[in-house]
């Protein structure tokens, strides 16, 4: 009999996805008709895919899926909308506008993401257009916030090196604009821009008619803080700053954390070092990498369509030569740099210009009004008096930035009055934990993440307490699936969902974003997770070397095999 593998499910899917892009008339599809179809709260299948390029995912409330199936009702479809916000900076006025949208169209919460975007959840189809119009009215768009294009560009959040940081942020914004798709589809469909001649056939000089094989992520880091997890991105620009001046960037490429359970051809991977470029070569460098991926990326298997696989399949030497050929210049040798942490610095910091920044802890990035902690209201109150800006961190937290010294007391009082001051008392493990959205809305989720984090934190805090480790700075990351939105493979302890209530337990990353963790136990429940950690915490308490991190301790003691931890691409690390 013939091989049943002549065309795999994966290649079917990839071919379908490529076909949808190609036939979409530059990302228009039949979205207008889909939106008008009153018989369903969903879009036509192809339009749901096209919609991603416009910054929105069609989802459904999975808590209700089975119940509604029995009720002969379609799933409770709704939509997530994600903003494009390079570096995650908004003005107080924009904050108030987004807050109002969360109340009137979404589920009453704002969600800060690990890529410095706002997410609105629970928007129904017939209000999708009105919601997108309201977001655009705040001078924020959602173009290319999802989809097979360059996504939101993330930038080191804390602007305490004010001048150089501003230059880095500026590079990021210009790159984000440069890499936008040229189609007018977004403006026609959502903002009622008139169609003009050539509509549907716009030239896409960077992307071409089928855009990229898969999503594409870019980050700008400012050492010594690696809050953006630069090595987890398709491209990481690591700022080299001397005496407050931005000299340029070390460029790393080929990072990405997504993987598929049980498929050894997929894996998280850290980026490789290409070398140093001056600030005026950022765009040319990025364009060369993006177009290389456009031309050589795998378009027959979406699971292997990220840049990291293109590099591994063709070799790094080939890749670097191709980039240099396209860019028309060679990379200079990487400059020395060093990262101390990939976490946020909470509380007040003062910039070199004397302005103050207050970093607040937002658990799982979810801004909501909870009993005793009306955080959404509190931030609204702060936005009404604040004259600087708000900065979203890549760790789902929030910086009230550029506060004049004279306003410090006023802001401080509002923070305390609305339960926003938990950063003062929370344990390190609580402060630095990340969780993706997962259930009930994310279609990828196999297990709980955000909803489970509060319970799990209580359990793990109790366990740490028992071993006298309350203040140990352990980086915990919780993910509902192996795709990596909460960057689980860079957590010292990570739970990656496998099935309801069951997770893979991974250990041994370095809390600086430069070493991946490795699988320690597979497919276990909470009791088994805590039982697995208990003896490790006991040993850690007894045998820790000075301020040694938990992940480093795990590695030093061969608790996870070093071979599996040392992924093929540990990046260059040089200390100043």
């Amino acid at each position: 009999m013939n091989s049943p593998n002549s065309m795999t499910a994966d290649s079917y899917r990839a071919a379908a996805a490529e076909g949808v892009k190609e036939a979409s008339r530059r990302l228009r599809g039949t979205l207008v008709a889909s939106l008008a179809d009153a018989v369903t709260g969903a879009l036509a299948e192809a339009d749901a895919q096209v919609l991603k390029f416009h910054g929105s995912y069609q989802q459904d409330d999975r808590d209700l899926r089975e119940e509604r199936r029995l009720q002969k009702l379609e799933p409770a479809h709704d939509f997530m909308i994600r903003t494009r916000l390079p570096g995650g900076v908004v003005t107080p006025r924009q904050w108030l506008q987004l807050d109002a949208i969360a109340g009137s169209y979404a589920n009453g919460t704002l969600r800060l993401t690990t890529r410095q975007a706002f997410q609105f959840h629970g928007i129904i189809k017939r209000q999708l257009k009105a919601t997108l119009q309201a977001i655009n009215a705040s001078l924020i768009d959602t173009v290319a916030a999802c989809g097979d294009v360059n996504r939101n560009v993330v930038v080191a959040a804390n602007p305490y090196e004010s001048r150089a940081h501003a230059a880095v942020h500026d590079s990021a914004c210009r790159l984000s604009e440069y890499l936008l798709p040229k189609t007018r589809a977004y403006y026609e469909i959502w903002l009622d821009e008139k169609q003009v001649a050539g509509s549907g056939e716009e030239d896409e000089p960077i992307y071409g008619p089928t855009y990229l094989p898969r999503k594409f992520k870019i980050a700008f880091a400012v050492p010594p803080v690696n809050d953006v997890d630069a090595f987890a991105n398709d491209i990481g620009f690591i700022a080299i700053i001397e005496h407050g001046t931005l000299l340029g960037f070390n460029v790393v490429a080929g990072g990405g954390l997504g993987a598929t359970h049980g498929d050894p051809n997929t894996y998280p991977r850290l980026a490789d070092m290409l070398g140093f470029v001056a600030p005026d070569r950022v765009i040319a460098t990025a364009e060369a990498i993006v177009t290389t991926q456009r031309d050589f990326g795998n378009r027959s298997d979406r699971k292997r369509a990220r840049l990291k696989y293109t590099i591994d399949d063709r070799g790094f030497a080939w890749f670097k030569a191709e980039i240099e050929r396209r860019a028309g210049f060679e990379f200079a040798p990487a400059r020395p740099y060093g990262f101390d942490t990939n976490g946020d610095r909470f509380g007040w910091t003062e910039g070199e210009d004397g302005r103050l920044h207050l970093t607040l802890r937002i658990e799982s990035g979810r801004i909501a009004d909870r009993d005793g902690a009306p955080q959404r209201k509190g931030l609204r109150e702060i936005a009404r008096v604040h004259r600087g800006e708000f900065r979203l961190t890549p760790n789902q937290n929030l910086i009230v930035a550029n506060i004049a010294a004279t306003q410090r007391a006023q802001i401080e009082a509002l923070v305390a009055a609305h339960g926003l001051d938990n950063f003062r008392i929370a344990t390190p493990v609580r402060l630095h934990a990340l969780a993706c959205v997962a259930l009930p809305t994310c279609s990828q989720a196999m297990a709980e993440a955000e909803r489970y984090l509060p319970d799990f934190l209580v359990r793990i805090e109790a366990l740490l307490e028992r071993h006298g480790l309350r203040d140990a700075p352990i980086n915990l990351r919780l993910s509902g699936c192996p795709n990596g939105c909460s960057r689980p493979y860079l957590g010292e302890i990570a739970l990656v969902g496998k099935a309801p209530g069951r997770y893979n337990l991974l250990l041994g990353a370095d809390a600086r974003g430069q070493r991946l963790n490795a699988l320690y136990r597979e497919n276990i429940d909470e009791t088994e997770i805590l039982a697995a950690l208990d003896p490790l915490f006991a040993r850690f308490a007894l045998e820790r070397n000075g301020e040694e991190g938990f992940g480093d301790f795990i590695l030093r003691n061969n608790i996870v095999a070093a071979a599996t931890v040392s992924n093929k691409s540990i990046p260059l690390e040089t200390r100043t």
Partner: protein, 605 residues
């Protein structure tokens, strides 16, 4: 490929066989595959009615030589394997049909002869989303005996989960339990799918060849038996006065948890009842009053539940009289008059005397409310005599026997509200809503000749059924789809909320996809600032609607008589005025003419 090997297997009349041979001769492989899929689709969806004889070649002979492959797939692996097997079987000249589990017509399972199932297991032992219905049906008590079936199962899974291949395993043992013969052992494929799957597929192919060869030898003799299209019904022995005790098969809420009302889809078995019905008919239900209500009435009247009452030749305790022989949830004038005489209460007397207030009192009160509000002395005998005998409630049947077989489906809005400080129920809706599967309900069929599908199946139909008024149209659509009626079908539906009250939403969506429903216009009154009802949708679609009527469409309205039917009538009249350039009177005359021609039928209550 020559058509000859196929010919030996064809159970068709010689003339058709000749046509078939000519049709397939010279076709390439792809075309032949297409053709087999096309005809399988015809077989699955359209039970083409026989021309003039009332006979039909039994489907049994047709399915005997056919291999059916059903797959349930989450990530595409099962689908890929099933498709591969179907392709190979087709190449080997076997008659094969391939169906995703949710497209499998479950009614055909009992006549299936050779079935392969390829199905994965998700998470902690769940079937793939597209196979839930299929798996539940086979696991459930409605699964038929499958003595004639030969089968094999290939399960897919991930052995790092505790419930590895649990769905495939459960199906495999359940099919055997139902009497089917397992052809060969189940395959449990792990994430390295092909290691197990490929040998299994190979075996499946070889076995199918052998099995179908044997089967065709057994039946290729001119043994095609002829069965009447409509089997002879047993003589009717059940009727309104002697209701049949129907088993509840399904009692499923179909409005979402946050819905404004609790709407139930209820499936009743009419098996062995001898009843036959047609779409448009109603099912009469004899309810039992809620026990708590009976006790409240007895308490409010100050009587003893056990006191014996002899009435109309029967002697029963008072409680029994009130449970299922007397009307308690509907208030009747004679009872209020009788009560007022006993109560001698000025307020009640003036209410009864008022032509405005009395109808309101009748509409808003139940017997117990009057007893509570205006206490009076009753004896048990007089109370039973004064109350109206209990009447059955009629529900439009929401199914067609062509699809539902010997079942009747109902769409029931549960009446349950607070009034006068007490919870109130509707007698029959509460009775039905409280029946679990296995309970029985006394029922009879009430024919409704005035609400029938067009005799001429090529006529278009327009169905206007907001709320539970949509019930008969579910039956209409099932019927038209089953008979392959040529006419188009247009449904208007409305309710308060899209998300919670879109009754049978998934079924309408499927019907639209299959081309069985041609238009669906919806009006959800409370999803926007201004209220929108079906009559607004009718007006908005006036031009097309008038064109349909002009081309001979039949118009049906079902649901609330008090307001909806009136508003819809006005909307139809306005459409005729506007689109037909007619006066109001002329438009009314048009509607009257349509009604006389049975092209404008209403089932309103």
């Amino acid at each position: 490929m020559s058509a000859e090997p196929v010919r030996a297997l064809i159970p068709l009349p010689e003339e058709k066989t000749g046509l078939l041979t000519r049709l397939v001769d010279g076709l390439d492989q792809a075309s032949l595959h297409w053709l087999s899929g096309y005809t399988a689709g015809l077989a699955a969806h359209a039970q083409v009615p026989p021309r003039d004889g009332a006979t039909l070649v039994s489907v049994e002979t047709a399915v005997l030589q056919q291999l059916t492959i059903v797959y349930g797939s989450q990530t595409g692996n099962s689908k890929r394997l099933a498709e591969s097997l179907a392709r190979e079987a087709g190449n080997a000249g076997l008659a094969v049909r391939l169906l995703r589990a949710d497209a499998y017509p479950l009614r055909e399972l009992k006549s299936e002869r050779l079935l392969y199932v390829v199905i994965s297991t998700q998470g902690d032992g769940d079937p793939p989303d597209d196979a839930r219905g299929f798996v539940e049906f086979i696991a459930g008590k409605r699964a038929p005996r499958l003595e004639e079936l030969k089968f094999a199962v290939l399960g897919l899974g991930d052995s790092s989960y505790a419930q590895f291949c649990a769905v495939g395993a459960a199906l495999d043992s359940r099919l055997a339990e139902l009497g089917a013969a397992r052809l060969f052992a189940r395959g449990d494929a792990d994430v390295d799918v092909d290691t197990i799957a490929r040998p299994w597929l190979q075996r499946a192919l070889t076995t199918a060849r052998e099995t179908l060869k044997t089967e065709s030898l057994k039946t290729s003799a001119p043994s095609a038996k002829v069965t009447p299209l409509r089997p002879q019904r047993a003589p009717v022995t059940w009727n309104r006065e002697r209701p049949y005790s129907a088993e509840v098969l399904v009692n499923q809420r179909i409005s979402a948890r946050d819905g404004s009302r609790d709407i139930r889809h209820i499936e009743l078995s009419l098996k062995d009842s001898g009843f036959s019905y047609e779409p448009g008919d109603a099912l009469g239900v004899w309810p039992t009053n809620p026990a708590s209500l009976v006790d409240d009435v007895i308490g409010a009247a100050g009587l003893d539940a056990q006191s014996l009452v002899a009435h109309e030749g029967q002697t029963l305790p008072l409680r029994d009289w009130l449970l299922d022989r007397r009307e308690l949830t509907r208030l009747a004038r004679p009872f209020v008059f009788a009560h007022a005489q006993r109560a001698r209460h000025d307020d009640l007397d003036s209410l009864v005397a008022s032509p405005v207030a009395f109808p309101v009192l009748l509409a808003e009160h139940q017997v117990v409310d009057v007893l509570r509000r205006f206490p009076a002395a009753w004896n048990a005998q007089e109370l039973v005599a004064a109350l109206r005998p209990l009447a059955p409630r009629l529900y439009s049947i929401a199914s067609s026997p062509k699809v539902a077989d010997d079942e009747a489906h109902l769409t029931v809005a549960r009446v349950d509200y607070e009034a006068f400080g007490h919870r109130h129920f509707g007698a029959a809706s509460e009775f039905l809503a409280a029946r679990d599967a296995d309970n029985r309900v006394p029922v009879f069929v009430e024919s409704n000749e005035r609400f029938r599908l067009p005799q001429d199946a090529s006529r278009d139909i327009i169905m206007i059924g907001p709320g539970t008024g949509v019930a008969p149209f579910r039956g209409f659509l099932q019927d038209r789809a089953a008979t392959g009626a040529k006419g188009r079908n247009w449904l208007f539906f409305g309710n308060p909320h899209f998300r919670s009250d879109f009754l049978y939403q998934v079924e309408w969506q499927q019907a639209l996809r299959r081309g069985e429903l041609h238009r669906l216009d919806v009006a959800f009154s409370r999803d926007q600032d201004h209220k929108v009802y079906v009559q607004h949708a009718i007006r908005r679609r006036g031009r097309e609607l008038y064109a349909w009527i002009e081309q001979g469409a039949h118009v049906y309205v079902c649901g609330d008589a008090a307001r909806m039917a009136r508003d819809v009538h006005a909307a139809l009249r306005d459409v005729i005025v506007e689109q037909g350039a007619k006066s109001l009177d002329e438009a009314e005359a048009t509607l009257s003419r349509l009604a006389a021609e049975r092209r404008y039928s209403r089932d309103v209550y």
